[in-house]
């Protein structure tokens, strides 16, 4: 099985540790992962702001970079959702039959990390160790667009040393929403403040989620509030072991 890592533009530029954690984790599970260097972005920022023409060359770059792989794995529910549900819309808009065909190849092969682990590899115990009190925020696109269900929870429950606490109103949006966070900053911040309050109420030391973009927003509010709660991508918890230690 040829497996490609789609690291996402946000992780590439802002959260490289998450990409490294996915590589570490998959190697430990016996999966050799490629990083096609031609990859850039899934084009979701353009699509969700209404810039469909601008999304076309980005989607073209995506399908060129990932052509021929059996699985495209990404540590982002939102970007996986974009590849699976929006690339077809962009390709249709381009009027390019070749792009429509290429998208039909790559879209169904794109997996969010927990889907790949649980459904394709069939594992829930990935041998991780993380001795902290953790609460999990199910990000909207992983929850409602992809339907990852309780896969992240199944994986977290098998982590040695972890203490999972419940997040009140967990399924409510954190208010990030891509350009919504800036275009409707006041509403976004009001939603983020409520999410941060619930995170504090959970009593967790670490907030974990499958999307760093949402975590950047919630974490930004938690930091401004001097809450002392750390945010981490799920991949980094799953990658950490007793031997290698917990990532800094």
């Amino acid at each position: 099985m040829r497996v490609a890592l789609m690291v996402t533009c946000v992780n590439d530029a802002m959260f490289p540790e998450t990409g490294k954690a996915v590589v570490t984790l998959l190697r430990r599970l016996g999966v050799e992962v490629d990083f096609p260097a031609a990859q850039t972005c899934c084009a979701q920022p353009m699509v969700n702001t209404g810039y469909l023409d601008e999304a076309v060359p980005v989607v073209r770059t995506f399908v060129d970079a990932f052509a021929g792989y059996d699985a495209i794995v990404t540590p982002s529910g939102s970007c996986a959702g974009s590849a699976r549900h929006q690339h077809g819309i962009v390709a249709k808009r381009s009027g390019d039959a070749g792009l429509v065909k290429a998208v039909a190849e790559t879209s169904p092969k794109t997996y969010e990390l927990t889907e790949f682990l649980v459904d394709v590899l069939g594992v829930t115990d990935v041998g991780a160790y993380f001795p902290h009190r953790v609460t999990y925020h199910p990000t909207c696109h992983s929850l409602r667009m992809l339907g990852v269900g309780d896969r992240p929870r199944q994986l977290l429950e098998q982590v040695r040393g972890i203490r999972l606490t419940d997040l009140p109103a967990a399924e409510e949006c954190c208010g990030f929403g891509g350009t919504f966070a800036v275009k409707n900053a006041d509403t976004s911040i009001a939603m983020g403040a409520d999410k941060a309050r619930h995170v504090r109420e959970s009593g967790a030391e670490v907030l974990v989620a499958g999307d760093n973009s949402c975590l950047m927003h919630i974490g930004g509010v938690l930091s401004r509030q001097r809450s002392g709660v750390r945010v981490m991508h799920l991949a980094e918890i799953l990658a950490s072991t007793e031997d290698a230690g917990v990532p800094a």
Binding site: F35, A37, M46, R144, G175, G177, K183, T187, S188, G219
Partner: protein, 498 residues
């Protein structure tokens, strides 16, 4: 605020004002929370018996059938209504619909009408049109009375006064009822039962006096010519049965092909709206029944942008809407910004798509609506007729952007996205951009004063478009010195030591 949504600012600034109203935030969070919980319990109950998803699919299918053959269904409805003694009027827009109601009222020489709660008469501004002709329109739905007496605007589809709490309602009743009819008792308390009793006394004299009533309809059955109104209080039924003349304004998308097809819709609607298995009052009437109820019945079939929405291949699904308001009650944006921020009688997620679909995009207020969403998808999940609201929102955002493609001076945002598309369609260009952000990151890591839990440096408040809005309440992590792709290249994917 009073009486009109005309001239409302775009969503972000209207929402900003609402976010500062702590009473509003509290009222909305409480009320939507209560309805959400009631609905969830009943959905679970249906799920155990016959399957909620199957019922949603059945409801959506009925509305799709109705819309696919809309022309035929409407002609059948007209024929059935006419055969049953009703007079059918066709209205292309608000002005034509209002003119019909005014003409009927004037012919009967009345200076007042009583009204059943209806969204569509709010959409066409009927009350204001009647008032301009010296005809008072009395709202009779409890929540609508609160809005009308408070010189306020509706903020919710089902519960137009959801933004008011009972203490505020008591004050409005005491202050305003006496000006337009029977006053509220001087010792009125804020107990719900006492407030309802005051409204009942106030309304009773209006019901007994009125010669003409105006209603909308939840459904219009084509094969039988039957209109259906679903309500909780019985005030609607008073309007529908006591006056001699009844005028019903009905959007053309309300048509349902057959009586039997009402079945899934009447099961979906109360569960999704009030969180009840069945609503207390479902009134159905077919034209004129001699000697019983109104003896002169008019039905105004209104387009007002519906055929425009129908022509939109992605957007037409919004016409399936049965106005239950489940999407409002689950929407995190609505819960915080409130209904007024949407500048329409149709607020919330459905309003964010319905208003642009009915009116067309192009003005700043309408164009702001498709962006009034974080695209969290809770609305689609809750919608009883499976309207994929996030899909339509994104589709309408593209319409908004496309409407500005010929601008001589492009918006800053458009320039930014052109630049982003350029950088993101070639990995070499992206690598270059990341080198720049890595440099910024190194500077920030050295001099930044904010440290995130875990040790990473972050930026506090920084200026610039976008950045200032982000950092007004959120710290921004410093970019890493090395991007993932640079690390991968340097270490051969971590094999040469990470």
């Amino acid at each position: 605020m009073s009486g009109t949504f005309v001239g409302m600012p775009a969503f972000p600034s209207a929402a900003k004002a609402a976010l500062g109203d702590t009473q509003l935030r509290h009222n909305l969070a409480h009320a939507t929370g209560v309805i959400r919980a009631k609905r969830a319990k009943l959905v679970e109950e249906v799920e155990e018996n016959l399957g909620w998803e199957d019922l949603r699919l059945a409801g959506a299918a009925v509305k799709d059938r109705a819309l696919r053959d809309l022309g035929d269904n409407l002609e059948q409805l007209e024929a059935a209504l006419t055969a049953a003694g009703a007079t059918v009027h066709w209205a292309r827009d608000a002005a034509e619909a209002n003119a019909v109601v005014i003409e009927v009222a004037k012919r009967h020489q009345v200076d007042e009408v009583v009204k059943v709660k209806s969204m569509v008469t709010g959409e066409i501004g009927l009350n204001e049109a009647l008032e301009a002709e010296g005809i008072a329109a009395w709202e009779t739905d409890l929540a609508e009375i609160i809005v009308q007496l408070g010189h306020d605007l509706p903020s919710h589809i089902l519960v137009p006064a959801i933004h008011r709490n009972r203490a505020e309602i008591r004050e409005i009743f005491l202050r305003e009822m006496g000006k337009v009819g029977r006053p509220a008792p001087a010792d009125l308390t804020d107990e719900p039962a006492a407030l309802a009793a005051a409204a009942r006394e106030h309304l009773r004299e209006k019901f007994l006096r009125a010669k003409v009533a105006v209603s909308g309809a939840n459904f219009a059955v084509a094969d039988s010519g039957t209109l259906v109104v679903v309500e909780s209080e019985g005030n609607g039924r008073m309007c529908l049965t006591l006056p001699e003349v009844l005028v019903s304004v009905v959007g053309i998308e309300k048509v349902v092909p057959t009586w039997a097809e009402l079945d899934p819709l009447l099961r979906l609607l109360p569960r999704s709206s009030t969180g009840e298995r069945m609503n207390p009052y479902t009134s159905t009437w077919t034209g004129v029944t001699p000697g019983d109820g109104p003896q002169e019945v008019h039905v105004v079939l209104l387009d007002n942008g519906r055929t425009r929405a129908l022509a939109d291949e992605v957007g037409r699904q919004a016409l399936r809407c049965i106005r239950c308001s489940a999407c409002l009650n689950v929407c995190p944006v609505y819960e915080r910004a409130g209904g007024h921020a949407y500048g329409s009688v149709y607020p919330g997620p459905i309003g964010a798509i319905l208003n642009p679909l009915l009116k067309g995009t192009g003005d700043a207020q309408t164009d702001s609506l498709p962006y009034a969403s974080s695209l969290c998808g809770a609305c689609f999940e809750a919608c009883p007729v499976r309207i994929d609201i996030p899909e339509v929102l994104v589709h309408l955002r593209a319409q908004v952007v496309d409407g500005h493609r010929e601008d001589t001076v492009p918006k800053l945002e458009a320039v930014a996205f052109k630049g982003a598309a350029y950088a993101l369609s070639d990995a070499k260009r992206l690598t270059l951009a990341e080198k720049g952000s890595g440099l910024a990151g190194r500077v920030l890591s050295r001099f930044g004063r904010t440290t995130l839990p875990g040790g990473r440096k972050a930026a506090g408040r920084i200026p610039g478009p976008g950045a200032a809005k982000w950092t007004s309440a959120r710290d921004l992590p410093a970019p890493p010195a090395e991007s993932f792709r640079a690390w991968w290249k340097r270490t051969d994917g971590g094999k040469d030591g990470g």
